[in-house]
Amino acid sequence: MKEEPGVLLQISPIRNGTVIDHITAGEALNVLKILGITGTTDECLSIATNVASEKSGKKDIVKIEERELCAEEVDRIALIAPHATINIIRDYLVCEKMGVEIPQVLLGVVRCPNPGCISNTNEPIKSRFEVTKRGLHCLYCDWYLKDDIPGHII
């Protein structure tokens, strides 16, 4: 895996796991929140924030050992870090490299901000949002979620 020398000093390579690169600067901790990683979970992590980036000026990087992200987790990351790249590492080699892409419909990813929405009850359904240019559109109650999307991620 090719690393910028400065970054290499800050974060050492991992043997197996996932490297999330090009995260929007300042969003690394939200990425961890989305992945359910807290101070009490046992993942081995490396986090770099505000690293110099040729593409975007500054970026964050997260490395998670012994964990490969699933598609739904990638969808969630796309909401807050649309330029992130996901590298799956096996035996120190990048085996898969993918960009994140916000899908047209987000299923079970975001909680509807409308307290009167049926998706916020104990019904056996997942929240369902359509991604539109005006924000995330709840396909149950018709509300639009425009602000604080990280705060509404399930």
Partner: protein
């Protein structure tokens, strides 16, 4: 043929016009009185309603069908904690279609995902109430063409689902929408934005005489008392607009006044006797419109 009736937004203009035409034919007596004989409508009302429930039941009866209901919520399995999804799956086994009124927004959409029979949305929270909107359009069309008119929405435009749904439906026609609402109850910006994106002109007013003067249709909605923290703040807003014969003296001669009912103080009872008042005719139109909808999904 449409499987479910969930939101007015899913209707194209041609489909709305066809439903209104069918309701007009029904109104003239041109329908098969046994069209839905041996068919059963499951009537699931999770909150009180008089007009909507009774007009659906009347519509079903006029087409030769029968209705079953679950009684009040307090007498149903809902009090035992049953989910709406389960209720819908169970009633799907008893009825050929389900009409649902529910306090939660999106309930009808959820019901359509679990039902094996057509679902008709009879109002879900502050969300959609498509049959009411078709009644509103039908009543306007009885008085004037739906094209090239000025429609005014007055009252609680923030929470009033009927005003939102009517506005969305009107975007299919060449109309100008005028709005007048008490402070804090204005139409939500995202709704206004969506309506404008759909190409409709919206004129926001703050003075009722000027608002009234330019309208062909005045659609009045109730200020909902339950939205206010105390009686004083409710009455301060509720009494800010009242449609009276004196006010209507400045209106266009052919202008009609609509209201989804029930009304409280927003329309003076003296207006009832004026030719402008069409709200009781509007309520009566619930039957032919709902007959047209039942035929649409059940035949």
């Amino acid at each position: 043929m449409r499987q479910h009736i969930i939101s007015i937004k899913e209707f194209e203009k041609a489909e709305i016009d066809a439903l209104l035409d069918r309701a007009a034919a029904i109104d003239e007596g041109n329908y098969d009185h046994k069209a839905l004989e041996d068919r059963i409508l499951g009537v699931l009302f999770f909150e009180p309603s008089t007009r909507t429930r009774m007009s659906f039941e009347a519509a079903m009866a006029r087409l030769g069908g029968a209705c079953i209901d679950m009684g009040g919520v307090e007498a149903s399995s809902v009090v035992k904690g049953e989910t709406l999804a389960d209720t819908i799956r169970v009633v799907s086994g008893y009825a050929d279609a389900i009409v649902l009124r529910h306090p939660k927004e999106g309930a009808a959409q959820l019901a359509s995902e679990f039902a094996s029979v057509p679902v008709l949305n009879a109002g879900d929270g502050a969300g959609q109430h498509p049959s009411q909107t078709l009644i509103d359009l039908y009543t306007i069309r009885q008085a004037m063409p739906l094209e090239g008119i000025d429609v005014g929405l007055l009252g609680d435009l923030r929470y009033g689902r009927t005003a939102h749904s009517l506005a969305y439906a009107l975007t299919q026609y060449d109309v100008t929408i005028h709005t007048l609402a008490p402070e804090g109850l204005e139409m939500p910006p995202n709704v206004v934005e969506e309506l404008r994106e759909r190409g409709v002109e919206i004129v926001v007013h703050d003075e009722i005489k000027e608002f009234t003067r330019g309208l062909d249709v005045m659609y009045v909605t109730r200020i909902q008392r339950e939205r206010f923290p105390d009686s004083a703040s409710y009455y301060a807003v509720a009494s800010s607009y009242r449609v009276t014969p004196e006010l209507l003296a400045g209106a266009r001669e052919q202008m009609i006044v609509l209201h989804p009912l029930p009304r409280v103080d927003e329309i003076d009872p003296r207006v009832d006797a004026l030719p402008h008042a069409k709200y009781f005719q509007q309520a009566r139109n619930g039957v032919p419109i709902r007959m047209a909808l039942l035929l649409e999904v059940m035949r």
